[in-house]
Assembly symmetry: C2
Homo-oligomer: 211 residues x 2
Amino acid sequence: MVRITKGPEERRQEIVTTARRLFESEGYEKVTMQRIVEEVGIAKGTVFYYFESKEELLKAVVEDIIEQDYTRKQALVAATGGNGLDKIRTIMQLDSMALKYPKILESLHEISNASMHTQLLAVMVNNEAHLYETLISQGCDEGIFQTDHPLECAEFMIAAMQFLTDTGIYPWDESDLMRRVKAFPSLVEAILKAKPGSFQFMVQGRDWDIK
Amino acid sequence: MVRITKGPEERRQEIVTTARRLFESEGYEKVTMQRIVEEVGIAKGTVFYYFESKEELLKAVVEDIIEQDYTRKQALVAATGGNGLDKIRTIMQLDSMALKYPKILESLHEISNASMHTQLLAVMVNNEAHLYETLISQGCDEGIFQTDHPLECAEFMIAAMQFLTDTGIYPWDESDLMRRVKAFPSLVEAILKAKPGSFQFMVQGRDWDIK
DNA sequence: GTCTATACAGAGATAGAC
DNA sequence: GTCTATCTCTGTATAGAC
């Protein structure tokens, strides 16, 4: 058989990218190592040369997703002007966009995806919380928010909102989703002691109202 | 070989109980069907007669856990007097007890357990939220809380608190856990617009302060 | 250092006898 | 309703070619 040698970083990234695509579209448990190596066009042993196990590969994929997402958001925040609320609005709206598109297949409620989703969620909470913390602190300085625990506020809100709306984690009813998203603004405003209506943007421009 | 026939419900429950014990102590993914049937003392085919797949068996186990937990809490609430806050305190303290003991083995942070934990968490949120909703509404009537969304408040708080403190879901640092739990009272008070200090009991009588 | 090819124990699942 | 026997295919390990 033809032997193709590539630089180690290139090959590694190739595996991660392919695995990510397959995991995202068909679920971690359903995708076999066999399938991955066929798609990449390498031998089975090669994957195990780069990653000790399937779980290690999953970790790498999760890091890949998080890193990409985080970088994009941080750049966006840096490029955005305005007060803390304006900046939070910017990244929150980015989230709602990102949530819609690539989840079509995922939302086939598979328990099989749970390991991947949970890990993703946990790492995301860790990362995003620090981003939000900065913006919440800024808002406190500007007098539009008020809290003694900006980081914990951020973690609390992100964890709850992600968990309660991600249909990849659990097949929530559509009516449950609507109900929850409609309540989010007042909940967030209560936590941050923000002016009523500040977070109303969270339910606007969405299909929640129409359905 | 000896052939033992039992009533279908008895046998089913026997399988669920054994599977639950093994899943809880060693993790869902690590426990094989082979292991389960050996422990129960039946043939492999029998399990597949009762449950279509290993995942179906997991569902049954999760329901078993939730049901037991929910029944106990509901009875406790019914037996407790006082206002909404008193009752919430009662079940919240029950939680912290339940969390401590049977998790010793689980807290070996295994990705393998994620599917089970996530499912458990989601079903628990669904169930407990309704319990808390009643108590929050009662508190609103009594003038000690204030919210337009008692159910969504409940879901939000339960999801966030469980997710951020369950080391079976993700191996959080101990310092993260302490930090978060210490912030919970003021976050919950903000959401429910309760009197400052109302939920201070959440951090008392715990080991958080000592460590 | 990179990679292929192949081997293998053990997993979840199934068919059909009892 | 329960058993045994058996199937397929998985994740993983490894020997050795380039």
